[in-house]
């Protein structure tokens, strides 16, 4: 900042650091993996209505200043006139017990051993070729500093996952090292195997066509972020990629979707977005109606609305976050639970599916907010009971999120389970929708 005081009208620096300690489980082997001292710096500067961008992996002020000077020489016109000026209190979400556990290799190792041994304690494990998982503790920090603003967030979390035959996985996110969280981590290998029934159900056996489908919260989040998100963002509206207007009815009137950076325990909980604009908790779909676009400073300015704190350096393809431009993205997704439990929703299905994973969702047609994907993880339901797992690679599910003329969209008829699940970044129930299957 000081080095460039006379050379730029405003300067923004975003600094990320991360340390990670984990134990990978590969069948019976347990192997440690550690990562320390990774630093990433994203730099932007404004001069005369032009925006300059650079990125480094060093804390050396001189190298960062040199990078930004090079960028200023080829800066391009921008709608941004200044960077954020907020100074919210720092957010430190670090559980001391979790920190102590992270720094105790024996304790983390014993969790990984328990995860593995729980899996192999089940007789069916002997017939499984591929079991893998991991237990890890990571600590991340992010600082956004501008001439007039500053925000910092530091958090630590435990994460564990287990996958059986690449066909079913279970994931645990724990911001606190509570006894319940540790028990869940120890049991995640066992849970993954128990979640993979022996019986395989083909499309011919159950029958296909339009079916009621319960989307697992992880899959529901993936579909919303991949196929719907673009329609809700200010930059899409500015580019003509979203025809939505505030007030449009886009979903069942019982359905609300919240965008929130204020949910404790989620990784989306932060005082600001990646350009220092404070976020909030706001309904982007409220009782079925679209309330308004969300976005970064530049795209909101282009639409003539106040920035909403949705400017994130979300990487695409091979970009690291510090090299990614600021993009409009949703923060944490929150959908409140419904009246019926997951079990009651299953019991209400004569013939249907529970979907956990779709292959190739990244290829969704964002322009049409639609997808057509192969199922790799899911269960068949008949007469209100779970019948077995869907034959791998044999099922396809497709849907369009928004209505098209008289044809209802996936969101047009939707029910929610009472239970919600944290996906790490979001908190969602199971969503009961109707999809075309074959």
């Amino acid at each position: 900042m000081r080095a460039l005081s006379g050379e730029a009208d405003d300067v923004e620096l975003v600094l990320w650091s991360a340390d990670e300690r984990s134990w990978a489980v590969r069948n019976r082997e347990i192997v440690p993996e550690v990562s320390f001292g990774q630093v990433a710096v994203g730099l932007r500067a404004l001069r005369g209505g032009r925006l300059a961008m650079a990125a480094t992996a060093t804390l050396d002020p001189e190298e960062n200043a040199r990078a930004l000077r090079a960028a200023l020489r080829v800066a391009r016109p921008s709608r941004l006139s200044e960077f954020a000026a907020a100074r919210p209190p720092p957010l430190v979400d670090v559980d001391p017990e979790l920190e102590a556990l992270a720094h105790d290799p024996k304790a983390l190792h014993s969790l990984a051993v328990a995860l593995r041994d729980g899996f192999f304690s089940l007789p069916r494990a002997a017939s499984i070729e591929a079991f893998e998982g991991a237990v890890g503790a990571h600590r991340t920090a992010r600082a956004v500093v501008t001439r007039r603003g500053e925000s910092t967030v530091a958090r630590a979390a435990l994460a564990a996952w287990a996958d059986v035959e690449g066909a079913h996985s279970e994931i645990v996110h724990a911001p606190r090292a509570t006894p319940e969280a540790l028990a869940e981590i120890r049991g995640v290998g066992r849970a993954a195997l128990l979640g993979l029934p022996d019986r395989i159900v083909t499309p011919e056996e159950l029958g296909t066509g339009e079916l009621p489908v319960l989307l697992h919260p992880r899959l529901a989040e993936a579909i919303l972020r991949t196929a719907l998100q673009e329609k809700l963002l200010a930059e899409s509206a500015a580019k003509g990629l979203s025809d939505l207007r505030p007030g449009d009815l886009v979903a069942d009137e019982s359905f609300s979707l919240w965008d929130s950076s204020e949910e404790p325990g989620l990784s989306s909980h932060a005082p600001t977005d990646d350009e220092g604009t404070p976020g909030a908790s706001r309904a982007v779909i409220e009782r079925g109606r679209f309330t308004g676009f969300l976005g970064s400073r530049a795209s909101c300015e282009e639409l003539g609305i106040a920035p909403t704190g949705n400017g994130f350096r979300t990487p695409m393809i091979a970009e690291p976050p510090n090299e990614a431009p600021v993009r409009d993205r949703l923060s944490g997704l929150i959908v409140e639970g419904g009246e019926k439990s997951f079990s009651e929703l299953v019991q209400g299905m004569e013939r249907g599916l529970v979907l956990v994973g779709l292959l190739g969702l990244h290829g969704a047609d964002r322009a049409r907010a639609s997808f057509s994907c192969t199922v790799y993880d899911g269960l068949a339901v008949r007469d209100g009971k779970l019948l077995g797992r869907l034959a791998p690679g044999r099922w396809n599910a497709s849907g369009r999120l928004l209505a098209d003329g008289d044809r209802p969209g996936l969101l047009s008829r939707i029910e929610r389970s009472r239970e919600q699940l944290s996906t790490g970044r979001s908190r969602l129930p199971h969503l009961l929708v109707r999809l075309e299957t074959r």
Binding site: K106, I128, D365
Partner: protein, 514 residues
């Protein structure tokens, strides 16, 4: 591109003495404590340009990143990978000590070992190509590119009556790596890379209907590769044709339709363009990665390394990973977006024939899996910037087996097909143990042996791994393996996939949906 400084060897690393000093200090510290250690240091310098809808531009003339991964192996086969940012040794030492304490907690692994690195004495590998953040050449190249794309959009908008606009993303970078070990191995590689992605969108102002098509170019070349004799000479004609093709396809999609269920039931054949060949990467390539084989995750091999099917595919087909095989039998060394000269363990990258006449004949190895299966290493251990090294693909392609039908062109390939589809382009794929899935970007109906002008919307192509090559009947046109992509396996790795135009009989292992 500016010339490399003449004060050092052409393929020397930019800060080589500093990096080798850091590597030496680190290896000297761990040498008394472990049986073996090796490390990989990677640095990337990149310049980047984006042109967004509405003409907004983002230019990033300088982005740099670097990291290292250190592998520690003790006498009882316990091993770990530790990742570090590029910091002075004194700052790395506490992390190394913590890594060592984790290493010794591990259970003994008596079967663990690493295959020897062949050709240990050769140090230098790579191609020249510099990204100089102070050079005006790069931004001139980016600007020239943007002008050409804007002109193509303008022409297409005028001729189609639609609003055609193309998003453009281009970067040029140099990636350097240094591999050293406690037994005196030193190898370096310097590799340029240029990547261009275009997303053409066509919007009908009357209906508001929006269609799009993506295309990519990429190779291990400096950015001058895109132009005829430099930015002043304009884009290479073949690249201009490919870029223009994306816009034309986006326009064409406005009148495209989906196949009905009845039509899908009647399909007898699929003809795949090289750009729709992502199944070769997903359904073949991944299943040949020996780390996945060892861990029981391959759909084509049992964990002991035996093929699950024999024969696996039709006898007309071979599958290769590596530089493309030329008609004269040589390999296009130094070409291909997925190419490297050495992998991230210092092993030279060899072309590997994975399938010969439909039979599985080889695997892709890093040093650990080569030792595990008692086979020769072939240079497929790669890391994404400081992460653990995994077995990865490079350029993976179908090739006609000796004596296979290799016809003159697409028209010949369509002959005899009662009702089929010709598919082009892919939005990337995803794989599970059983098979793969991709969204193809565009299709055309083949009816009564002729390719028609009936265009098809993007569709979902699913291929089951074990049956993926059974229906292959014939090939046409030149081998193309120049569709660049980024393969995710927890880490990103540059790759390509392709083959000649390929005719595939519709079997129960291949499914198309809309």
């Amino acid at each position: 591109m500016s010339a490399i400084s003449t004060s050092r060897e052409p393929l020397a690393l930019e800060r080589e003495s500093e990096l080798r000093e850091l590597a030496g200090a680190l290896l000297a510290f761990v040498r008394p404590k472990v049986a073996y250690a090796d490390l990989l240091i990677e640095r990337v310098r990149k310049a980047e340009y984006q042109r967004l809808p509405g003409g907004r531009e983002l230019v990033k003339p300088y982005a740099a990143r670097g990291a290292m991964t250190v592998r520690l192996v003790d006498a009882k086969g316990r091993a770990l990978d530790a990742s570090f940012g590029l910091r002075p040794f004194a700052e790395l030492r506490p992390g190394l000590e913590e890594a060592l304490s984790s290493l010794w907690l591990q259970e003994e692994r008596p079967g663990f070992g690493l295959a020897e690195v062949p050709n240990r004495d050769r140090v230098r590998y790579g191609l020249k190509g510099e990204v100089d953040p102070s050079s005006p050449d790069l931004t001139a190249s980016f600007d020239a590119l943007a002008r050409e794309v804007a002109a193509l959009d303008e022409g297409l908008s005028a001729s189609s009556g639609l609003a055609v606009e193309t998003e453009l993303w281009c970067y040029a970078q140099v990636e350097e790596k240094l591999v050293q070990d406690t037994e005196g191995l030193v190898k370096t590689q310097t590799l340029p890379q240029t990547f261009l992605q275009l997303l053409a969108r066509a919007k009908d102002p009357r209906s508001g209907r929006l269609t799009q098509q993506r295309t990519r170019l990429g190779d291990i070349r400096a950015i001058s590769w895109l132009f005829e004799g430099g930015p002043g000479g304009g884009l290479r004609a073949d690249f201009r044709e490919k870029i223009g093709g994306a816009g034309r396809a986006a326009v064409g999609l406005q009148r495209a339709r989906a196949l009905s269920s009845e039509e899908l039931g009647r399909l007898t054949h699929l003809v795949l363009a090289p750009s729709a060949m992502v199944f070769v990467h997903e359904a073949e390539g991944h299943n040949f990665e020996a780390d996945l084989i060892k861990e029981g995750q391959s759909g084509l091999f049992t964990p002991d390394g035996a093929p699950r099917a024999k024969p696996f595919g039709a006898p007309v087909v071979d599958v290769w990973d590596g530089p493309a095989l030329r008609p004269d039998g040589s390999f296009a060394e130094g070409e291909g977006f997925g190419s490297h000269f050495i992998d991230d363990e210092g092993v030279e990258v060899k072309p590997v024939r994975l399938v010969e006449r439909g039979e599985i004949v080889a695997k892709l190895h890093d040093r650990e899996t080569a030792h595990h299966f008692r086979e020769a290493p072939n240079g497929r251990g790669f890391s994404e910037l400081g992460q653990r090294r995994l077995v990865r693909m490079t350029n993976t392609y179908l090739h006609p087996a000796a004596g296979a039908p290799w016809l003159d062109g697409l028209e010949r390939l369509c002959e005899g097909i009662a009702f089929g589809v010709y598919l082009e382009g892919s939005m990337g794929g995803a794989v599970s143990k059983e098979g793969m899935s991709t969204t193809v970007q565009l299709g055309r109906v083949i009816r009564d042996g002729r390719l028609t002008d009936e265009l098809l919307l993007p569709g979902n192509l699913t291929v089951r791994a074990l049956g993926s090559l059974k229906g292959i009947e014939a090939f046409a046109g030149p081998l193309r393996c120049d569709d660049p992509g980024f393969c995710g396996k927890g880490q990103m790795k540059t790759v390509t996939d392709g083959g000649p135009l390929t005719r595939l009989r519709k079997t129960e292992d291949v499914t198309l949906g809309f």
